[in-house]
Symmetry: C2
């Protein structure tokens, strides 16, 4: 791939989330059990559809963040396991609905649920998982955590509608685009991180630190995801390079290339995004234009900017293995393009 990231510490190999996985492996065992049990139903189609996506090898980054953030402040109950599972269900529900909205055919290297069971099942099983997510939160009994996660649910939907309303609009500004990804992606990372200190009874400052960490991590994560779509290998990504292009998505690499392009190049982008001229030759040309204008590199640069803010959000906190693990997640997200 053309893009190699220089990490701040000079390492060029990809960072890992090994420390996060290790610290949360016991709790994640319980999360995975809870996922299976709460995706269950006497209505056979529900576990079928839910498990198709759940078992498709997502990294479960969000629930691990919740668990580590709770551990970090000495939480000792089992509420963090339920909240982590809720967060993953909210994420899964969003993916099911997203695939319907985007009319996607592939997700994580597998056919999407809507291609196998239809749009109807994807909408309804998403609703079911969202309902189960709320039941688990209620079961934990923290009104503050409920407030944070239910607000996130609203904001995510708002972000998705914002994205829909701006669909195929090449004049979208960078700021407008950041508002969309902040709502549709970063809000859930932020909530996932904040509910940890909340149920642990941590201070207002600690809550704010984790909230800010999650928000900026989420922004970095989404930007890298958008960069990868024009430069990752489909093995790593679970989707094919150019999926966003073929779906006519106006992501940051496209926004930057369009804004920086010549009139002729802008016409190319209009044909591609507005008129769906997205054959392989067009994709190749698109990637070429992105490179010429530094659009992918600068998308990664913007991700680095937010990653830095996430890092500083945690700076005042005591050094713990959990803090170290959460810092590694930032590097991991950004180094996915390396």
């Amino acid at each position: 791939m053309g893009v190699v990231l220089n990490l701040e510490n000079g390492k060029r190999e990809a960072a890992s989330i090994g420390q996060l996985i290790e610290l949360t492996s016991g709790d994640m065992g319980r999360v995975n059990e809870l996922i299976l049990s709460k995706a269950g139903s006497d209505v056979q189609m529900i576990p079928e559809v839910a498990n198709h996506l759940i078992s498709s090898g997502g990294k479960r980054l969000r629930p691990m963040v919740t668990l580590a953030a709770a551990q970090m402040f000495g939480y000792s109950g089992d509420g963090h396991v339920k909240l982590a599972t809720s967060v993953e269900f909210m994420h899964t529900a969003t993916l099911l609905h997203d695939d319907v909205v985007d009319e996607s055919g592939m997700r994580r290297g597998k056919k999407t649920a809507r291609m196998i069971w239809g749009n109807q099942a994807s909408v309804l099983v998403g609703d079911f998982l969202l309902g189960q997510a709320f039941r688990m939160m209620v079961d934990v009994g923290s009104l503050e955590a409920l407030d944070i996660l239910s607000t996130a649910a609203t904001v995510i939907a708002e972000g998705e509608v914002m994205q829909l309303a701006a669909a195929k609009n090449l004049e979208t500004t960078e700021d407008e685009h950041f508002a969309v990804i902040k709502a549709k992606t970063a809000a859930l990372f932020s909530a996932a991180a904040e509910v940890g200190p909340v149920i642990a009874g941590a201070t207002r400052n600690d809550r704010a630190a984790l909230r800010s960490y999650g928000m900026n991590l989420g922004l970095a994560f989404q930007l890298i995801d958008d960069a990868l779509d024009y430069g990752g290998s489909s093995k790593d990504l679970g989707k094919n390079v150019g999926d966003d292009f073929r779906e006519g998505k106006v992501t940051l690499p496209v926004i930057l290339s369009y804004r920086r392009g010549t009139p002729a190049e802008r016409n190319f982008w209009k044909k591609a995004i507005e008129e769906n001229v997205t054959d392989d030759a067009s994709l190749e040309k698109a990637v070429g234009l992105m490179k010429r204008h530094g659009a992918i590199a600068d998308t990664i640069g913007r991700a680095g900017h937010f990653g830095g803010i996430a890092r500083d959000a945690l700076a005042p906190l005591e050094s713990t293995p959990q803090k170290q693990a959460l810092l590694e997640v930032i590097d991991f997200c950004i180094s996915r393009v390396a």
Copy 2:
């Protein structure tokens, strides 16, 4: 229409919900304000889509039930207004998703949101309203009410999937069908009724009474709705006679006609439901077969059965204007076919 209902008291004119409307009119003013404000968003498409459905003249029966049920036990805060609004938002979200699942063109006499703004907007605005519903519940702060309503959200989705899995299956038994409508329709009526006594701090028995009232009212309501689709006028119903038939829905009038039919008649039903032969002549024949086998009358009879259980659920409660109003709702639901 051919079906005239004999109410228990011998009256043949339609019952009304006048008493319920009167008792809750002050609170409903606040519910309606809250609906408008909580359907608002800086993302312009959200209030557009939401208000299209919200302003289309639903009766708002569910929130009125919540308000009356809270008043009945002397509730004096403002939580019942928020919970009633949550209930209406859950209902609205379900309708938005239902129209996508059923590919419906009309709802309450207007084009469905999906015909104007697309399936995507309907899915996402539904998600937004569901998120807002949960935020309002959280704001009320009753974990018991949250438990009841979040469980209902899950059960509703489960019921919808059950219905999807049984779609076009003419061998569906009456019991299987009751399980579907109990989940997809009656669960929300039940929750709407139960949260009233819950926030009023009523006894366990009072809660159980209202829960049972709501569940059986919901069953009666849905059965009458299904009967009306083969015998109501489109003015009353906000949808056209035969909509269910044209969508190939296996409702109780169809189930009864199919089970009671001759082999030739069953072939007719298979053509209609499984192969979509649903022209006007087929609809006329379908209604004729239903009359021959008493399928509509017996659907109404089953509704009367559940209505009777709903009535007896409230029997031990002290006589109050609220109780009287809730009893009238039963008659109203059933007399819609008169």
